[in-house]
C-alpha cells in the first residue's frame, strides 16, 4: 500500500502533482486554494524531482506560462478559484485551440464577481460548456473526496495527453479545505522529451529532428477551410471522449424509485440523504457523475425508463439539472427532473435534501 496520510484536499493536489512526475506548476494565490502553492513551495520539489514551481504575477500570466510549457510537451498545471479561472479563460481557449495537454484545478467559491470565499459549484456551466470562446471542451473531473483529489491529478494528466486537450479538476472549497485519510500515489519519474515523443507522438516543440517538419504550436488559422477542418477534428476528439471516457458511480440505484444526481461535495451530502430517506422507507438512490464532461447521459437515460423522478442537488442555481433533463429526455421519457440547491457559499444539509425530494417529487 502507498503512503497513508491525513491531509487537506488542496495539500493533496500539490503532493500528487510532485508524485506523478509533473514538470511545472504556475499559479497565483486565491482563497480557498492557496494551500496548493503553499504546499508546493514548502516541499521544494525542484530539489527532489526537478519540478518547477512559480508564483506568477497574475492568473493571466500563469495560464500563459502553462500554454508555453505545454507546447514543449511538458507536464504542467495551474490551480485557482473561480474569479481566477475567469481570468484564465482566454488562455484555456488558446490551449484547447492549439491542442495541448495540461491540468487546471478549480477550487470553486461562490460568485458571480468576487462573490464569497465559501464553497460553491456555480462554475459548472463555465467548466463544461465553454468558459473561454470558441467550440472547445475540457475534460472535467469532479472529485468528491480527498482521496480522489490525489487520484484525479494523475488521471487528469493521462486524459489530457491522450486527447491533447486541457483537463480540469472541478472541486470546491469544502473538499479543498477538508482533511481526510488519503493513500498517496507512488512516485513516477518525470518524463524526458524522448519519452514524451515516443509515448504521445512528436507534436511538441522540444527540438526539431531531421526526419520531420517543424512543429508549430498555434490556435490561429486564417484559411477558413483549414480552420473548419481543425474544428471538425476537435469535434471528432470530443465525440471519442463521450464514447470512451464517461465515468460515474451509483449508490443504491437498483431498486430506487427516485434518483438524486449530484457531483463533488454535494454527492457526499446526498449519500447521507440516501441513508436518511431509506430509513424513512423511501426508495432513493444516488448517481454521481465523476466526469462532468463527458457527461454520463446513457446511465441517466437508462434510469429514466424505470424511475419516478430525478432530483439534482447542486451548490448553484441549477446548472447540471439542464444536462440531466436532456439525458433523461433522450428516451422520450416524461419523468420529472427537479433541482434543489443552495448558493452564496451555503452548503445544503442532508436533511434539507430529503425534504426537497419529498416536496418537489414525492408529494408533487
Amino acid at each position: 500500500m502507498g503512503d497513508l496520510r491525513l491531509m487537506k484536499g488542496n495539500e493533496v493536489i500539490a503532493e500528487a502533482a510532485i508524485r506523478c512526475g509533473c514538470d511545472g506548476y504556475f499559479g497565483y494565490p486565491i482563497t480557498p486554494q492557496s494551500e496548493v502553492m503553499e504546499t508546493l513551495m514548502a516541499r521544494e520539489p525542484w530539489d527532489e524531482t526537478g519540478m518547477v514551481v512559480l508564483q506568477a504575477e497574475s492568473e493571466v500570466a500563469s495560464i500563459n506560462m502553462v500554454y508555453g510549457a505545454a507546447g514543449s510537451g511538458k507536464k504542467v498545471m495551474t490551480s485557482s478559484s473561480s474569479p481566477g479561472i475567469s481570468l484564465m479563460a482566454e488562455g484555456i481557449s488558446y490551449i484547447a485551440g492549439a491542442e495541448l495537454p495540461c491540468l487546471i484545478v478549480n477550487v470553486q467559491r461562490g460568485g458571480p464577481g468576487l462573490g464569497t470565499i465559501q464553497p460553491s459549484q456555480a462554475d459548472y456551466f463555465q467548466s463544461t460548456k465553454g468558459g473561454g470562446h470558441g467550440d472547445y471542451r475540457l475534460i472535467v473531473l469532479a472529485p468528491s473526496s480527498v482521496q480522489e483529489m490525489n487520484d484525479f491529478v494523475d488521471l487528469g494528466f493521462e486524459l489530457a495527453y491522450k486527447y491533447r486537450n486541457p483537463a480540469m479538476i472541478l472541486t470546491d472549497g469544502a473538499i479543498g479545505q477538508m482533511m481526510e485519510k488519503v493513500v498517496l500515489s507512488e512516485y513516477k519519474p518525470r518524463m524526458t522529451s524522448e519519452e514524451i515523443n515516443d509515448k504521445y507522438g512528436s507534436w511538441a516543440t522540444n527540438g526539431k529532428k531531421p526526419n520531420r517538419d517543424y512543429n508549430i504550436i498555434t490556435s490561429l488559422e486564417m484559411d477558413s477551410a483549414k480552420m473548419e477542418s481543425n474544428n471538425l477534428r476537435f469535434q471528432e476528439k470530443y465525440k471519442q471522449m463521450e464514447e470512451e471516457e464517461v465515468r460515474y458511480e451509483t449508490f443504491q440505484c437498483d431498486d430506487a424509485e427516485y434518483i438524486l444526481v449530484a457531483f463533488g461535495s454535494s454527492a457526499r451530502i446526498c449519500q447521507k440523504s440516501v441513508d436518511l430517506a431509506r430509513a424513512k422507507g423511501l426508495k432513493v438512490g444516488l448517481l454521481r457523475p465523476i466526469t462532468l464532461y463527458p457527461f454520463p447521459k446513457k446511465p441517466i437515460a437508462e434510469l429514466a425508463k424505470k424511475v419516478k423522478g430525478f432530483l439534482t442537488v447542486e451548490m448553484n442555481a441549477g446548472q447540471m439539472v439542464e444536462d440531466v433533463q436532456l439525458a433523461a429526455g433522450c428516451g422520450n421519457s416524461s419523468v420529472p427532473v427537479k433541482y434543489f440547491g443552495r448558493m452564496g457559499g451555503i452548503i445544503p444539509t442532508p436533511g434539507e435534501v430529503v425534504e426537497a425530494l419529498e416536496q418537489k417529487l414525492i408529494e408533487a
Binding site: 482563497t31 469544502a174 482533511m179 481526510e180 436533511g351
Partner: protein, 185 residues
C-alpha cells in the same frame, strides 16, 4: 461507532488543532475520519469551528447540521451550536466568558474550567488539551495510546518535547470534568 463532533470557539484557542489531534487519533486506530474547518475570515479573536467525524465505517457527508457532541468555548458558539446537539448527545463547555449557560434538559451537559486549569498547569496554551481530556472522559471514543500517537503525528518534530506537557493537560482535563446535567439514554 460513528461520532460527529463540532468544536467551536475563538480563533487562537486551539480549536482547529484539537480537532486535528482527535482526527489523527482516529487514523491511528484505523478509523475513518473527516476534519472540516470553517475557513477564511476567521483569525485570532474571531470565531473558529471545526467538525470532526470519527467512524468505523465509510463517512458519507462531512458537512452536518446536528452533532453527537458539541464542544463550546465561547458565547457566540453557544448561541449557535447548543441547538444542534442531538437529543441524548453531549455538550461540553468552558464557563469562562459564558454569560448564558446552556439550558437544554434533553442532553448531557458537562463543564470544564479549562482556562483556569491550564493556567494552574503553568501554560495557558495547553487549554485545548485540557478540554480534549474532559471530552475524552465524557466520551472515551479514542484510546489514550492513539492520542499519544496522534500528537506525535500532528505536531512537528521540534515540538515533540511538549508531548508530555500535553498529556499532562489531557489527564488534568479528565480528572476535572464536572457534570451539569445527565440524561439517561
Amino acid at each position: 461507532m460513528t461520532e460527529e463532533i463540532i468544536i467551536a470557539g475563538f480563533g487562537g484557542q486551539g480549536v482547529l488543532s484539537m480537532g486535528k489531534i482527535l482526527a489523527y487519533s482516529g487514523v491511528m486506530q484505523d478509523q475513518e475520519v473527516t476534519w472540516f474547518p470553517s475557513y477564511g475570515p476567521e483569525m485570532r479573536g474571531g470565531t473558529a469551528n471545526v467538525s470532526v467525524i470519527i467512524s468505523d465505517t465509510r463517512i458519507s457527508s462531512p458537512i452536518l447540521h446536528e452533532f453527537d457532541t458539541a464542544i463550546i468555548l465561547n458565547q457566540q458558539s453557544m448561541d449557535k451550536f447548543e441547538k444542534t446537539v442531538k437529543p441524548g448527545g453531549v455538550l461540553l463547555y468552558d464557563p469562562n466568558g459564558i454569560v448564558n449557560p446552556p439550558t437544554r434538559t434533553d442532553i448531557n451537559i458537562y463543564k470544564i474550567e479549562g482556562t483556569k486549569i491550564a493556567a494552574d498547569l503553568g501554560n495557558v496554551k495547553t487549554f485545548n488539551m485540557v478540554v480534549l481530556g474532559a471530552y475524552l472522559k465524557a466520551k472515551p471514543i479514542v484510546k489514550m495510546e492513539s492520542i499519544r500517537k496522534g500528537l506525535e503525528k500532528s505536531l512537528p518534530e521540534r515540538h515533540h518535547k511538549l508531548i508530555p506537557l500535553n498529556l499532562e493537560a489531557i489527564e488534568a482535563g479528565q480528572e476535572k470534568l464536572e457534570a451539569v446535567n445527565e440524561v439517561s439514554v
